[in-house]
């Protein structure tokens, strides 16, 4: 095994420069940012000493400076501290929603893929129907029934984005279902439950690792959109979407109130996309 995988890389060495290629800088930066984000979510006090909720009216609307690198808001709260403390909620929303969404997708895909012809057609129709509802419209409907707040927001985004993931997992399950190794397991007399757990799930799930990584960034954006509309945590909570909607009222005086929380959202989305693609290349062995 070792000699097989070593041979081509050794042969290619002379033509390559030793410096990292620009293509590797992206994933490295993405992983660095995601690590920072994880620290911010788990132990925000390591990154800043300021209190995200402490008001200091005399320091209101300060432009970015050394004391306040991202400036301050209308009550003198430090924006940098608020962005750092906001990571926890935004990531919790993103991870929660993508977990829910992929769970719905997996259950529907397994029912459709293994439940016989009628179930298969029903799931196809369900996917077609759900696709007619844009994610944010479906999420708005959900928040109408569930109210606002973190929990309902996770459910709204999770349900809203399930259609796309269901289609993806369903396609995977279908292709794995008819694969040779599943037929072989069936011929060997393994129980259907064992076949699902040992063969179908792992193989249908491998591409999902990539999807989930990229999906976290997307769900962070969607939940920020709903928070921005006032459906998430109420102000003055340190949450990126809520901060954006507070900043909108003062956009003419204090652009930094809007710019930096938005930048955090964009960088999260970009780094999950870049990291997801790198993961995909690693899995596919390209």
């Amino acid at each position: 095994m070792t000699s097989l995988s070593l041979a081509p890389s050794v042969a290619r060495l002379p033509s390559r420069r030793r410096l990292p290629r620009p293509g590797q800088l992206g994933p490295a930066a993405a992983i660095l940012f995601l690590t920072l984000l994880a620290i911010a979510a788990l132990a925000p006090h390591l990154l800043t000493h300021a209190d995200p909720l402490a008001i200091a009216p005399r320091d209101a609307f300060q432009a970015p400076s050394i004391a306040h690198p991202f400036g301050t808001d209308q009550s003198g709260r430090d924006i940098l501290a608020r962005v750092i403390y906001g990571a926890r909620q935004s990531l919790a929303l993103g991870c929660g929603a993508i977990t829910l969404s992929l769970s719905i997708a997996t259950i529907l895909a397994l029912i459709g893929g293994l439940g016989g012809r009628i179930a298969e057609q029903a799931v196809r129709w369900l996917i077609d129907i759900l696709f007619a509802f844009p994610v944010l419209v479906l999420a708005l409907l959900c928040t109408a029934t569930l109210g606002s707040g973190i929990g309902p927001l996770i459910v709204a985004i999770g349900v809203g984005s399930a259609a796309g993931y269901t289609r993806m997992v369903f396609g995977q399950v279908l292709s794995v279902r008819d694969a040779g190794y599943v037929e072989a397991a069936r011929a060997l007399g393994h129980s259907p439950a064992r076949i699902v757990v040992r063969h179908i799930l792992p193989n249908a799930f491998r591409p999902l690792v990539v999807t989930a990584t990229m999906g976290i960034g997307q769900t962070v954006v969607w939940s920020a959109a709903l928070s921005f509309l006032g459906l998430g945590a109420p102000p003055p909570a340190a949450e990126w979407g809520t901060m954006l909607s507070m900043g909108r009222d003062f956009i003419a005086e204090a652009w930094w109130m809007t710019f930096f929380p938005g930048l955090a959202i964009v960088l999260t989305m970009l780094s999950t996309t870049v990291a997801g693609r790198a993961l995909q290349r690693a899995i596919e062995g390209r």
């Binding site: 844009p134 409907l141 956009i251």
Partner: protein, 312 residues
Amino acid sequence: MTHLLHRAAWRLLGGILVLLAAASLTFAALHLTPGDPVTAILGGASANPTPEAIAAARHEYGLDRPIAVQYALYIARIARGDLGQSFSQHMPVIAVLRAQAPPTLALMASSLAVAWLLALLSVVPTARRGVAGAIASTLETIGAGLPQFWLGILLLWGLAFEWRLLPPAGNHGLPALVLPTLSLAIPLAGFIAQVMRESFDLALDQPFILTARARGLGDGAVRLRHALRHALLPCVSLSTWAVGALVGNAVAIEIIFSRQGLGRELFLSVATHDMPLVSGIVLFIALTYILAGFAADTLYVLIDPRLKGTRP
């Protein structure tokens, strides 16, 4: 010919099914909603109506009947094309749609057009061209990651407040359409361009490209006449999805730019539990999506003549 008819009938059935589902979903969503619709009918929580007025309104809107009867009546009414009265606006839902749909449709059309233009400009000249391709591809990834509402606020700040180039809000005329369009089009262009670049690269590897080059065709002609046609198909199906996504994203954009439109109206009607208006708007969105699907099917055949005979 018969299979074309068969296919059209199948599509029509699918479309009706989607509309029925849309109606049922909104019905379910708003009946599970906490908060009494009667309060909304009688002018919100502050109106403090008498019990008699509540009972009368309940009867007038059929809210005192069993839920299955309400559902059947509701579907029957929609099938007749009657979307009911908006609780909060005290006018027929059809009238609200007629007033609010045109600005949103204009915004969607201009956003889709600008997004396609940007994607074409970004992909066609740069695909497989080393540094230029890498730069364009990075810009596309960044563009696709920009949240529309953030972009909207920044454009508002830069172009409307700082430089005073464009009006910050409103519905009237082309200048008021520019900023909302850009906010929706730039991220969408990123998505379309990523898909277009992938299939454009694949198309450039095909043997017919080599044949075209061997016939002495210049690079520009090869890209425009041969590779592009192949790269368009996945982008067309992506655009069907985008039509729906644009409505969803228009919610925040219409609020930021104080524009009239369906997105803003949907948000307000969800907030006031105005059930007939919510279902009217959701039905309209589903209908738009279905029509976009039909349009995409037609475009497929125009772009790829091979599909004319073979599609079931």
